[in-house]
């Protein structure tokens, strides 16, 4: 199994969630984060002149998924989170050692469900 961590725009969260749902991927965790990429932040206006915000608010999305569905998830996130402008975010993929469902204690490494159903 793999963990997909995607940093996306705040305003794209709903679109990404909907697109993933259509692919049958329901289970996910999000965190509100701040970060900086190539964009390097934005400038805002003050009373006089401007000030720079170099850490922008983003959403971090975490999904645990079977190896064979990774490409589909990545593709779905890329399509639904993309605006084409700087600051669209990044996707990171990690190997997962094990997944244990707290309610039942069962090990999910060999099942298909991942986060599904939580």
């Amino acid at each position: 199994m793999k963990k997909i961590e995607a940093i996306i725009r705040q305003e794209k969260l709903q679109e990404v969630k909907d697109a993933l749902s259509r692919e049958g991927i329901v289970g996910l965790t999000i965190t509100e984060v701040k970060g900086r990429g190539e964009q390097g932040g934005i400038t805002l206006e003050w009373r006089v002149g401007e000030y720079k915000i170099d850490l922008l608010p983003k959403i971090k999305l975490e999904i645990i998924i079977e190896d064979e569905r990774v490409n589909k998830v990545v593709e779905t996130i890329c399509q639904s989170a993309r605006t084409g402008e700087l600051g669209d975010g990044k996707i990171f993929i990690f190997p997962i050692e094990n997944v244990i469902k707290i309610r039942t204690g069962e090990t999910l490494m060999s099942t298909r469900s991942g986060h599904k159903g939580e």
Binding site: L44, E45, W46, R47, V48, G49, E50, Y51, K52, I53, D54
Partner: protein, 405 residues
């Protein structure tokens, strides 16, 4: 002496309007500081209301409006409001209860020191701040108020025109803010860190509540309900509008018209028209408002270049605004608007302009020197600044044990 119920109503309502300005100032300032200092910044305004109201009743009013002592300070005859009753005091306002006049003036005494707090937010100890406020009200506000508005005060005898507090309120607070920020020094990381405003809507709500209160501030300074109050109300509104719009255009010309800039412009215009509000007409108010936007805007640009950390630009907004307003009074004052006033330079009276210049220079020097000494004194005796660690944590937690998150 007959109490006029219309005049009394207007002055009481005006007192309430001016009272509203102090918590409004808390919102205005609170929205511009960082998230970890919002509560402490608002607290500075709110607490000033309580502290100075008591100071005023116990001895402040007497020092300002008591029996004159050599033109310098009021005597102690009104100590504890002794002799300040429900009958009018003909020296100050012959148609309203003496208590109503005292109350109206109380709210001015409260908001003036509260204005200064914007210069040292985010880095001073709450204890140091309280002691400083009390000392400043006693040794700067009370004498200056007596000089300009107290019967027998030497600037009043000279004939200085200050309808609602350009000298007494804005110059004294604005110049003092400069002195205090020089003594207290920069915030840690000033010039390197970005200070993001925590909540611009707070600042906008604060600005418009200040504007609302300003109708009492200037309109109420007529001390009667009638034509002059209406005229002051009008010029107040017009100058606020003109300065706000001009400020917006200046920032738009630079890049974009920020809401924070517009709100600031409105406040600068209102501060600037204050001394002139009861002596000039609407067209003069427009000119005063527009000029004040240029001076205020570029005063902030200049202040930023000097590296002086007057955090919320009290000097640029109130000091420069107050100076311009007092001088503009000497230019645009018109006896046709207020027969009790005088004509200004524009109506052939150079003398009035010179009086306004002298009053500005003298009060500015006095406020600067006195505040410099008082700030140093507080710093040496009890410590005005918080420790570096407390500053990093933020004053909300380190001074009050509270947080907005």
């Amino acid at each position: 002496m007959m109490i006029n119920s219309g005049d009394t109503t207007w002055v009481l309502i005006s007192s309430a309007l001016v009272m509203l300005m102090t918590p409004a100032l808390g919102l205005f300032y609170g929205g511009m500081v960082g998230k970890k200092n919002v509560l402490s910044t608002m607290m500075m305004s709110f607490v000033t209301l309580s502290l100075i109201s008591l100071q005023w009743v116990i001895y402040g009013y007497s020092l300002c409006f008591g029996k004159d002592v050599y033109g310098i300070i009021g005597g102690l005859n009104f100590l504890g409001l002794n002799g300040v009753g429900q009958t009018p005091n003909p020296d100050y306002a012959p148609t309203i209860p003496h208590i109503a006049f005292m109350l109206f003036q109380m709210m001015f005494a409260v908001i003036t020191p509260a204005l200064i707090t914007g210069c040292y937010v985010e880095r001073v100890s709450f204890g140091g701040f309280l002691v400083f406020m009390l000392l400043w009200a006693t040794f700067v506000y009370d004498p200056v108020c007596h000089w300009v508005w107290g019967v027998g005060g030497w600037l009043r005898k000279w004939g200085v025109l200050d309808f609602a507090g350009g000298v007494v309120v804005h110059i004294s607070a604005g110049i003092s803010a400069l002195a205090a920020s020089l003594v207290i020094g920069k915030r840690k990381g000033y010039g390197k860190t970005t200070y993001e405003p925590s909540n611009i809507p707070f600042t906008i709500i604060g600005a418009f509540l200040l504007w609302f209160g300003w109708f009492g501030f200037n309109g109420g300074s007529a001390l009667v309900s009638g034509g002059l109050a209406a005229s002051a109300f009008l010029t107040t509104n017009i100058a606020g509008c003109a300065c706000g719009l001009m400020w917006m255009l200046l920032s738009w010309n630079y890049k974009r018209p920020s809401a924070l800039g517009f709100a600031t412009g409105c406040i600068v215009g209102l501060a600037t028209i204050t001394p002139a509000s009861g002596y000039v007409g609407a067209l003069s108010a427009i000119i005063i408002g527009i000029v004040s936007a240029f001076l205020g805007y570029y005063a902030i640009v200049l202040r930023m270049k000097t590296g002086i950390d007057d955090s919320l630009d009290v000097f640029a907004c109130h000091g420069i605004g107050g100076i311009l307003g007092v001088l503009a009074t000497g230019i645009f004052a018109n006896k046709a608007i207020n027969p009790a006033g005088a004509n200004g330079l524009l109506y052939g009276n150079l003398n009035q302009f010179l009086i306004q210049v002298y009053a500005t220079v003298i009060v500015a020097i006095y406020a600067f020197v006195a505040t410099f000494i008082l700030t140093k004194l507080v710093d040496i005796v009890i410590g005005f600044r918080v420790s570096d660690k407390e500053e990093v944590v933020g004053l909300d937690i380190s001074q009050h044990g509270e947080t907005i998150i």
